[in-house]
């Protein structure tokens, strides 16, 4: 079977979508949870904020009145609002609680896509005709979701999920915002570009556009697509299509191959979310591998759970779409997590909807796919070059030892051994497509006409020392009568070196060369660097590079 090639076909019509957004969902979920997560959280007027890694991820209206906004540090939040109820973030809790909302909406249409806990969407074509139009459907959806969530929800209907999500963001609670078909561009026209923050994969691009004077989406939409592609690349086109009211996801995603699905029987039937998720993990590996063999990656996945008694529970989950800015995670882990959320939500959902027996069957099927271009690897791009194994190890390592401690060498160029290469953070470079300038090569002998290091007159020729001391060690170069040797301004030694003292130990000099003078940045009084360098071979077979600066000798490198 041939894999779909979504990039070649012309983009199809956007799917008319209804989006339900429950604002501040982590706070709502914390209030709903049967076991109180923090004292006072259930009081309606109490200011509540949910924290992850010491930062606010969600706060309620009462807290926002005291300026407790997303991203704030905990201490600062508590300073601004001393009576703040602090709740730890728990994605599992959010997903579990959201099942009630999804179940309420499932009475309108069978396929609910859960974009993330707190946001879900479905295509309106069928249900809208049944319920008498988009406006009536939206009102109905708002009523049912509000009843299930216990808080006012925002509902938006528009062409394509992203525009619908923006329509929801501009809806008033209890009053759905319906953008008529084909009028998405008019709706977006006057919206500020900044209102897309959090909805697009590259927030930096928004800042750039505002900096260029394009303050509204309409102004951006009036640029030609060709110019946008030339200047901002594919992510620019993505945003441009969005601002013209087209569905940018359709650029990349396509229908999944029909015959790829993974099914597992669980025997004995599982009553706990963890054991189902455990089975789902191996299942997810099979699915990802089967899709990967066709060059595809899963964007949306349908998880179907069945019990011994024939009850069935189906949900569509969005996997790490372009809207999330998570660290790269493996698709297998994402799928397993969503299965766990779904089982958890089902088992602890509304009493009448709970299963009467253990889960005996799990079916995973892709609902939408896109070309596998290393999408899970986030900003590294993921083109061939760096093995995925390496990228994952680097990401893991940055978590263990800190991003500052994982660095890659870049050619800097300089006359001293320590200047030739500087280390930059691995997180700041694209490991996949790195090119490092070859040291000490001239453009003539770089194959393929590549880049070569510029010459540094005064640099010592190869071989370079293999140990360059982090900080030069104080040393002394001594003549036959035990006097320290000096170097004149013309580069002459005051006597013949006979001994070198390093770290209180004396070594006999068996060979020496130099000194070579270095006078760098003489135009800048603060950065000026003068030194005289001397190569010495010692009686123990070692060879070192010494330098005299600031009226004394230093051991700067060792040829080991």
């Amino acid at each position: 079977m041939k894999a779909p090639d979504p990039q070649r076909q012309s983009p199809p019509e956007p799917v008319r979508t209804l989006v339900v957004v429950c604002p501040d969902w982590p706070v709502v979920a914390a209030r709903h949870s049967p076991s109180a997560v923090a004292p006072g959280v259930a009081e309606p007027a109490a200011p509540v904020a949910v924290f992850s890694a010491n930062r606010v991820v969600a706060s309620n209206a009462a807290a926002r009145r005291d300026d407790v906004v997303v991203g704030l540090r905990r201490r600062e939040a508590q300073r601004r609002c001393p009576q703040l109820v602090v709740v730890a973030h728990d994605p599992d809790r959010d997903a579990r609680a959201f099942e009630a909302v999804a179940a309420a909406l499932a009475t309108l249409t069978p396929r609910i896509e859960i974009t993330e806990p707190g946001v879900c969407s479905f295509a309106t074509r069928g249900p809208s005709r049944y319920h008498g139009g988009d406006a009536d459907l939206a009102r109905l959806a708002a009523e049912r979701a509000t009843a299930a969530a216990g808080v006012a929800v925002l509902v938006g209907v528009a062409d394509g999920p992203v525009v619908a999500r923006m329509a929801a963001a501009h809806a008033e609670s209890g009053l759905p915002r319906v953008v008529p078909p084909g009028k998405a561009a008019d709706f977006l026209d006057a919206l500020p570009i900044a209102s897309l923050a959090g909805l697009v994969p590259e927030p930096d691009l928004l800042v750039t556009l505002v900096g260029l004077g394009l303050s509204t989406l309409g102004a951006f939409a009036r640029l030609s697509e060709r110019d946008v592609l030339g200047r901002f690349g594919l992510s620019g086109v993505w945003l441009h299509r969005l601002s013209r009211g087209l569905d940018p996801h359709l650029l990349r995603s396509g229908d999944p191959p029909a015959d790829v699905a993974a099914t597992a029987e669980i025997d004995p039937p599982a009553l706990r979310a963890d054991s189902v998720a455990f089975t789902a993990r191996t299942l997810a590996e099979d699915l990802v591998e089967a899709l990967g063999g066709r060059g595809l990656a899963c964007r949306d996945i349908v998880v179907t759970l069945q019990t011994e008694h024939g009850e069935s529970h189906e949900r569509v989950w969005r996997l790490d779409g372009p809207l999330s800015s998570d660290r790269p995670r493996s698709p297998v882990a994402l799928i397993a997590e969503r299965v766990r959320w779904q089982v958890d939500g089902w088992l602890s959902g509304p009493i009448g909807a709970r299963p009467t027996a253990g889960v005996s069957r799990v079916v995973l099927a892709p609902a939408a796919v896109e070309p596998a271009r290393g999408r899970q690897l986030g900003f590294w791009g993921g083109e061939a070059g760096a093995g995925e194994r390496v990228l994952r190890a680097v990401a893991r390592l940055e978590g263990l030892v800190g991003a500052d401690a994982v660095r890659v060498p870049e050619t800097a160029g300089g006359r001293e051994p320590a200047d030739a290469v500087s280390l930059v953070k691995a997180a700041a470079v694209d490991l996949g497509s790195r090119r490092v300038v070859k040291l000490g090569t001239s453009p003539a002998n770089v194959p393929g006409g590549g880049v070569a290091a510029p010459p540094w007159p005064g640099r010592l020729p190869a071989p370079s020392p293999s140990l360059v001391h982090e900080r030069p060690q104080p040393a002394e170069v001594i003549d036959a009568v035990g006097q320290p040797i000096e170097v004149s301004a013309r580069g002459e030694l005051s006597a013949t070196p006979v001994q070198v003292r390093i770290d209180k130990t004396h070594h006999r000099v068996v060979g020496w060369a130099g000194p070579w003078l270095l006078d760098e940045r003489w135009w800048d009084a603060d950065a000026r660097r003068r030194s005289a360098r001397l190569q010495v071979a010692l009686s123990d077979g070692s060879a070192h590079l010494m330098a005299r600066s600031q009226q004394r000798w230093w051991l700067i490198a060792t040829y080991a």
Binding site: V401, A462, P465, A513, A537, A557
Partner: protein, 270 residues
């Protein structure tokens, strides 16, 4: 799947009525891994010391006063062939020398500093992802941690290398704590520099003698001499009037034998 794979292909059998010729890439007879996949390449001067390349899964300890250059020269060819290298805890590495010895800096990641508490975990993460992990043994360790890291390297097929300059026994406390480490021990001793005179010339090249011994070198010592670094900063075989160590004609034979042994060890393992 397995029964299908084992039964002869009915079409071939009926049409020709004879056994189809053996093809090395036939999935039914192919070894789990080729000898070349089970090792990383080394540059020509090291061919006598590692006829089959650096065996994947090995732990290698390089000691002696020329150890820093020797260890970089050993793994340079592998990075050039696409292997990724992580260098842990070596802040005073001379990157200029590494580049001259042939290490591909575009496939090199330096990790420093590593807190002592997360050191074993960081090493485990590196062994999962990198083909070559080089540790400067300035970090004290314990035999049990080293044993586990060696086992992990063996399992993942990475090559774990450590080096120190203080001889086989180690000169400092940290170096001594690595004493039992390594399936393969390479001793690199400097035999003197050339090019330096009383106030004239410059350091040009150094003669280094290397000796390899250990469990993964088929029970016999190998030794070789080379210019490390040579006058261009790279590595060159030492051409002496009377050859020391491996006779040049012996190399291809030895490499074929090494490959064969790797193959048989695969079959024995499978």
């Amino acid at each position: 799947m397995s029964s299908e794979a084992l039964s002869p292909d009915p079409e071939t059998a009926s049409a020709a009525g004879r056994v189809s010729p053996w093809r090395p890439d036939d999935p039914r007879v192919r070894p789990l891994a080729w000898a070349s996949e089970r090792s990383l390449p080394v540059s020509a001067p090291f061919g006598g010391l590692f006829p089959a390349g650096l065996p994947r899964g090995a732990s290698i300890r390089v000691v002696g006063d020329a150890a820093p250059s020797a260890v970089l020269a050993m793994l340079a060819a592998a990075t050039g062939a696409g292997a990724w290298l992580a260098i842990v805890g070596w802040p005073d590495l001379g990157w200029g020398a590494a580049a001259e010895l042939g290490v591909d800096l575009a496939r090199t990641v330096a990790v420093h500093p590593v807190p002592a508490a997360s050191w074993p975990n960081a090493m485990a993460a590196l062994l999962d992802g990198f083909d070559l992990v080089l540790v400067a043994s300035q970090v004290p360790s314990t035999p049990s941690v080293l044993r586990r890291l060696s086992a992990r390297a063996r399992e993942r097929g990475s090559v774990l290398l450590c080096f120190h300059t203080g001889g086989a026994a180690g000169a400092s406390v940290a170096e001594r704590s690595w004493q039992g480490f390594g399936d393969v021990v390479v001793e690199a001793s400097a035999r003197g520099w050339e090019g330096l005179h009383e106030g004239a010339g410059r350091l040009r090249r150094r003669r280094v003698s290397l000796r390899v011994e250990g469990r993964r070198v088929m029970g016999r010592r190998r030794s070789s001499e080379m210019w490390l670094p040579s006058s261009l900063g790279a590595v060159e075989a030492f051409q002496a009037p009377s050859p020391v160590g491996v006779v040049p004609g012996d190399v291809p034979q030895a490499s074929a034998r090494g490959a064969l042994r790797a193959l048989t060890s695969v079959e024995a393992g499978a």
